[in-house]
């Protein structure tokens, strides 16, 4: 699937939800805890994973090769991956507060 900035994604396997900050440079599949993430809001997450790496609220996750950047807007269990390549936590470099 193709992704645009601002798109919110979720999967059946985790309570984690992410927003696309920077789309990947190719089409592909984003997964969380093994299941594909989509824009579908009406999914059954009763069997969501409880064990796995934590994806933390407000943190950004990136994968260098594709350039993808996701923002976690609801925390849950990961990992996040794009076309099989695992995303890593991006270190924050806050800009000076301008307002």
């Amino acid at each position: 699937m193709t992704f645009t900035p601002g798109t919110q994604l979720r999967s059946a396997s985790s309570l984690c939800e992410v927003v696309v900050v920077r789309p990947p440079d190719t089409d592909g599949t984003i997964t969380c805890a093994g299941a594909e993430m989509t824009t579908d809001t009406d999914i059954d997450r009763s069997g969501a994973a409880t064990d796995g790496p934590a994806i933390a609220l407000g943190k950004r996750y990136t994968e260098e090769a594709s350039g993808i950047e996701l923002l976690c807007v609801k925390p849950g269990v990961g990992p996040l991956a794009f076309n099989g390549a695992e995303l890593e936590l991006k270190s924050a470099k806050p800009l000076p507060a301008s307002d």
Partner: protein
């Protein structure tokens, strides 16, 4: 992604943190979320097209803004200092509105068919919903906020900011929960200004408590900064000038808790920055440049840039103290010539900007973006070789004298260096022979005298003869918007009446 997603994140991760108001009595992230859900129901029940906020700054402002988002209608904060006629005209553009105001009587008179509620009643009404009430997300492409442009050069227009513009700005410039829970900011910009909207969203998302000071005076501002241990602040240039004067009068330096002071919204005179740097030796300064139509800041001159400029031996680096810094990583800024081609460094042209936060759209007249997605700011300026942007004023302010284009900013910069000048503005006044003549409007410092000929001679020594003011008018103050933008149009009109 819409504003409610930001609010949900704030409530989920910083629900217990007081984010609006005084530490002891203010609203927490969760309380703000709950009140916004309740306010959203009130607005939905009123079945209106818009939420109008007509009042001063305070805790009702954020609740009203997010209530509008929760009801999926635009939020339109209006300037309560506008005349009845001006407000009536703006109300007449609205199909229907829920008016949250500090003066329900005035709202009822100006817009009798629209429901209105006082600030206190609204706040009370939003306290009655249990915590955890649902917020239903909206379409990211819906209009989140409408802001009336200040209308310094034309009748005010309604600038459109959609949810995705504002959320893109926040994601591009702020790190979630990056503030300490002891951090606090003071807000004294009026609620109908983009800075107040951007400031609210940025600080909430960062987790920094917001303290509102409704009626700005330098003395009150300094007292609140001290009393509330404020760490961050944003001011417009007129406020910065008054704060430095008040500190000088008190014989003190700025409060030690203040780590960051951001200024922007209009051009700042170099002597004011120099005074401020001297009086706040431990504070990091940030100059921000942005427009209503770009969801606030697009370029920032940070604390390190300020320090580097002050400390440098290189005149080009020192000059950067007068720049607005470099483009945010999430936007592109270029300077274009008359053919729309990028100018070389140092060459003045039209400042244009592109990025996800750039709206560039008005209810009246639609999108102003070019085919390439650039928004023409209608500001003139140039980029230096390192990408620092220098803003030189509005394209509309350009004086055309005998066919020669003259930027008022260049003359103003020279006039402002005269020791007798407190404030000045330069504008073109109509002239039969030349098309326009250059008029300098001057406010003198107390106890100083200056004649028109002395000033003209002073400018002629430093600039070409064609850039010497033809007329000099001495005034007691310059007409300005509440945020410090000088109303040149009014100066020119008043000049025509008195001569």
């Amino acid at each position: 992604m819409d504003l409610l997603t930001l609010l949900e994140m704030v409530a989920a991760g910083m629900g217990d943190r007081v984010l609006i108001g005084e530490k002891a009595t203010g609203l927490t992230g969760e309380e703000l979320r709950a009140r916004s859900a309740a306010g959203g129901r009130l607005v939905t029940d009123a079945n209106v097209a818009t939420v109008v906020y007509l009042g001063g700054n305070g805790p009702v402002f954020p609740v009203a803004l997010f209530s509008a988002a929760a009801a999926h209608v635009p939020f339109l904060p209006l300037n309560y200092r506008l005349s009845d006629d001006q407000l009536r005209e703006i109300f007449s553009r609205q199909e229907s509105a829920y008016v949250i105001t500090d003066s329900p009587e005035r709202a009822a008179e100006l817009a009798p068919s629209f429901p209105s509620i006082s600030l206190d009643d609204f706040l009370e009404a939003t306290a009655k919903v249990p915590e955890g009430a649902p917020l239903v997300g909206g379409d990211a492409n819906d209009i989140a906020v409408l802001l009336m442009t200040s209308g310094t050069t034309a009748a005010p227009k309604s600038a459109v900011l959609r949810h995705h513009h504002l959320t893109s700005y926040i994601l591009g410039s702020v790190e979630y929960a990056s503030a300490e829970d002891t951090d606090a900011t003071i807000v004294s910009v009026p609620p109908y200004h983009i800075a107040a909207v951007a400031n609210l969203l940025s600080n909430l998302y960062a987790g920094r408590r917001i303290v509102y000071l409704d009626h700005f005076t330098a003395a009150d501002w300094l007292d609140v900064v001290e009393h509330e241990a404020i760490t961050n602040a944003m001011v417009v240039p007129t406020m910065l000038a008054r704060i430095t004067r008040e500190l000088d009068a008190r014989g003190k330096t700025g409060p030690a808790t203040l780590r960051s002071l951001s200024y922007g919204g209009a051009k700042v005179a170099a002597n004011i920055i120099a005074d401020a740097l001297r009086l706040f030796p431990n504070t990091g300064f940030v100059n921000a440049y942005g427009l209503t139509e770009t969801s606030s800041s697009i370029a920032v001159l940070g604390p390190d840039d300020h320090r580097d400029a002050v400390a440098s031996e290189d005149p080009d680096v020192r000059l950067r103290l007068a720049s607005v810094g470099r483009a945010l990583p999430s936007v592109e800024i270029e300077v274009h010539d008359l053919d729309g081609k990028p100018c070389a460094p140092g060459v003045v042209g039209d400042i244009v900007v592109k990025g996800a936060q750039v709206a560039g759209e008005y209810l009246e007249g639609g999108s102003r973006l070019t085919e390439g997605g650039w928004f023409p700011t209608r500001d003139l300026g140039y980029l230096d070789s390192e990408g620092f942007l220098f803003v030189q004023g509005r394209a509309d302010d350009t004086i055309i004298r005998g066919g020669e284009n003259i930027a008022p900013a260049e003359i103003e910069e020279v006039v402002a260096t005269h020791e007798a000048v407190l404030e000045c503005a330069v504008a073109g006044v109509p002239d039969e022979e030349w098309g326009q003549r250059i008029a300098a409007f001057i406010v003198l410092k107390e106890g100083h005298t200056l004649t028109a000929d002395e000033l003209r001679a002073y400018v002629r020594e430093r600039l070409r003869g064609s850039k010497t003011p033809d007329v000099v008018s001495f005034l007691t103050e310059l007409p300005a918007t509440p945020t410090g933008k000088i109303l040149r149009r009014q100066l020119v009109q008043d000049f025509a009446v008195t001569t």
